[in-house]
């Protein structure tokens, strides 16, 4: 009775909240300069999966919100007090009402939540967790070191090995080639951070003491955003950077120059700059 009502109320309010959140996110996306009412387009090959799921949830939530609001209107209008009609109070405690509530709840769960969860799991399995074998010729490896409050990136340079003078070191800036899988191995110097590349539709925690791996394949050249998505201290807001995706040809030139200038800038006495680990196969 009351419990069912409160259950229903809980479901209702959560749907409301989701719908509101979606409208809010669309607003944020618009402020980002993307299409009106659409988040910035994905720039990685599996990014469309995220966008599709996002829109599926948005549409499902919007539809269910409309249905629920309309259903709420029925008793509000039908049972209200008006001339010649006394207000009709009902706690929904009859067996019929209880059954109806249970069926609607179950249907909502199966149709909406389980559906969305299944798609999400499929995406994770087929794309996000489906890391390519690291073949140097095909995959570009990057070592990431998060710290309070900056991102360090290390490319292997011309020799393809990490921890050598020709490594390409970048701070709050990452340059990668277009059209090749980019494989990340990441760790943190101090607390938990999270590497968030919104246009690439990928985000992964960066933990001290362990190496987390992630990957994506950029399909657009251009400038994108790097953020930290884990509150990591008072200057967390300063922990952002710029992701540059270059056409393979341009990248080759860039990589060679950056690697040669890396050798020129290499100072063996500068111990803090020597972080690197053996790439884990």
């Amino acid at each position: 009775m009351n419990r069912i009502n409160s259950l229903l109320a809980g479901v209702l309010s959560s749907r409301w909240m989701k719908a509101l959140a979606v409208v809010g996110m669309a607003g944020v996306a618009e402020a980002q300069g993307g299409n009106r009412w659409a988040p910035f387009p994905p720039a990685s090959d599996f990014g469309h999966r995220f966008s599709e799921l996002f829109w599926l949830i948005t549409i499902l939530c919007s539809i269910s919100m409309v249905i629920v609001v309309l259903l709420l209107l029925i008793p509000l209008l039908r049972d209200r007090a008006r001339p010649g009609h006394k207000a009709n109070y009902d706690h929904g405690s009859s067996l019929h009402d209880k059954r109806l509530t249970a069926v609607i709840s179950l249907a909502t769960f199966i149709v909406l939540d389980a559906w969305v969860l299944a798609i999400a799991m499929k995406d994770l399995r087929e794309a996000y967790w489906n890391m390519p074998e690291v073949d140097q010729a095909e995959t570009y490896p990057i070592e990431v070191l998060g710290q309070q409050w900056a991102w360090h990136f290390r490319g292997p340079g011309l020799d393809g090995e990490f921890g050598t003078p020709d490594d390409i070191l970048e701070m709050n800036q990452l340059t990668i080639p277009k059209g090749r899988p980019v494989s990340f191995q990441m760790t943190s110097k101090d607390v938990i951070h999270s590497l968030f590349l919104p246009e690439m539709r990928t985000k992964k925690d960066v933990n001290p003491g362990s190496i987390n791996k992630t990957w994506f394949k950029p399909i657009e050249a251009g400038e994108f955003t790097i953020l930290c998505a884990e509150l990591c201290g008072y200057a967390h807001y300063q922990m952002f950077g710029n992701l540059t995706v270059m056409e393979q040809e341009d990248f080759d030139e860039w990589e060679e120059s950056a690697s040669l200038l890396g050798i020129a800038a290499y100072d063996p006495e500068d111990e803090e700059a020597q972080w690197a680990w053996e790439w884990e196969e």
Binding site: M1, P208, S210, K213, A235, M239, S257, A265
Partner: protein
């Protein structure tokens, strides 16, 4: 369904069942984990940030800091008159107090007589309220890189190369002044426009906030150094006179190339942008002149900047690859070249080179940036030309 409780149990069973079947199907299990020993080793090898210390935010005592001299005061007054404002400082020494101090209308600047040295130095009194405001903004906006006590070793700045300024060393790279220390205005300009290509952002703070931060930064000078040293000079941003190449920019670039590789010997540290085979012809030098190895790359130079007592080395920029820190217009470049970059191998060139040469260099460097920076195809061609026959 007999009771709401039964219904809840049913719902929970469905939810748990779904989740555990996902688990059984290894949906969650394919997240790769590093093997324990290796990651532990990395954690031990990484130098860790120093533990945070207590941060007193309130400053209870004011301090005397060096101010620019008499000329500066007269200049300020002229500026105010030009803008139709009341002059800020009195120019009449008889208005000074008994100790020979000149007081401005706000009581801000005083002149103090150093009797022992028979030396006139100008000092300004900075009160505790302003220092406290400055410290609070400093902690909020600057300390993540520059350190809570301004030592240039804030957490974000630790692995930054070149490292953030240690304000206790009272040495600033891009102030564009000819003296040892910059005026407040020079520092304010630096904070407002930031340094391109570095995490020093163009700070969008109010004028009052930046003024307070500047006073606080100055107050970090150790005793007898920087703004607490009566003998150190304070200067305004170097003034670019008339541009002698106006309307003849192409000639300026040509001439700049000669100055860059010739008189000024920029290519001793920065890359040379002419193939060594063609240099003797360009510079009228004997055919068998030998230039340094790998002329197309810059050379790592020592600097005066220290991190934890260790000198930091700085790589002079390759103008076709690196981002120029403090402006790319010929005017900006003139200021940088003329005033030099303090604490590094880059000297102040004003006086050593003629105005014509200085401007020509500025035009040449600007041309390099325009032609090759962020243009991979063009830059590839340049590099091939430079390395040909090496």
């Amino acid at each position: 369904m007999r009771s709401p409780f039964t219904q809840l149990v049913c719902l929970a069973t469905v939810a748990i069942g779904t989740l555990s079947s996902f688990k059984a199907l290894n949906f969650f299990g394919s997240d790769p984990r590093a093997d324990e020993d290796h990651s532990q080793m990395i954690a031990e090898e990484l130098p860790h940030a120093r533990p945070p210390r207590g941060v007193p935010l309130t400053i209870t005592e004011g301090t005397w800091l060096r101010a620019p001299g008499e000329e500066w005061i007269i200049q300020q007054n002229e500026l105010a008159r030009k803008q139709g404002l009341e002059p800020r400082f009195t120019e009449d020494p008889s208005a000074a107090d008994g100790e020979g101090a000149w007081i401005d209308s706000t009581g801000f600047i005083q002149k103090r007589y150093d009797e022992e040295e028979d030396f006139w130095a100008y000092w300004q009194w900075v009160g505790p309220a302003q220092l406290t405001r400055g410290r609070r903004d400093f902690v909020q906006f600057c300390s993540s890189c520059h350190g809570l006590d301004g030592d240039g070793y804030g957490r974000s700045g630790q692995w930054l190369r070149p490292s953030p300024r240690d304000f206790r060393q009272t040495n600033f790279k891009f102030t564009k002044v000819l003296a040892n220390l910059p005026t407040d205005d020079a520092l304010k300009r630096l904070i407002k426009r930031g340094l391109d290509g570095t995490p020093m952002l163009p700070w969008d703070l109010s004028d009052e906030q930046i003024t307070d931060i500047v006073q606080y930064i100055k107050s970090l000078s150790p005793e007898g150094m920087g703004w607490r040293d009566p003998f150190t000079g304070i200067g305004s941003i170097v003034e670019a006179g008339e541009n002698p190449w106006a309307g003849r920019e192409n000639f300026a670039i040509k001439h700049g190339e000669k100055v860059y590789h010739g008189v000024a010997q920029c290519m001793l540290c920065h890359p040379g942008y002419v193939n060594p085979r063609d240099l003797p012809g360009l510079l009228d030098q004997p055919e068998d002149t030998v230039y340094r190895e790998n002329l197309y790359l810059p050379v790592l130079k020592d600097s005066e900047y220290e991190v934890l007592g260790e000198k930091v080395k700085i790589l002079p920029p390759d103008f076709t690859f690196h981002t120029i820190r403090s402006g790319q217009t010929p005017q900006d470049l003139y200021e940088t070249i003329a005033s030099g970059i303090k604490g590094t191998a880059m000297p102040a060139w004003k006086g050593s080179l003629s105005e014509e040469d200085l401007w020509a260099l500025a035009y040449y460097v600007q041309d390099l940036v325009e032609e090759y920076k962020d243009k991979p195809a063009e830059r590839r061609g340049l590099m091939e030309r430079l390395r040909e026959g090496l």
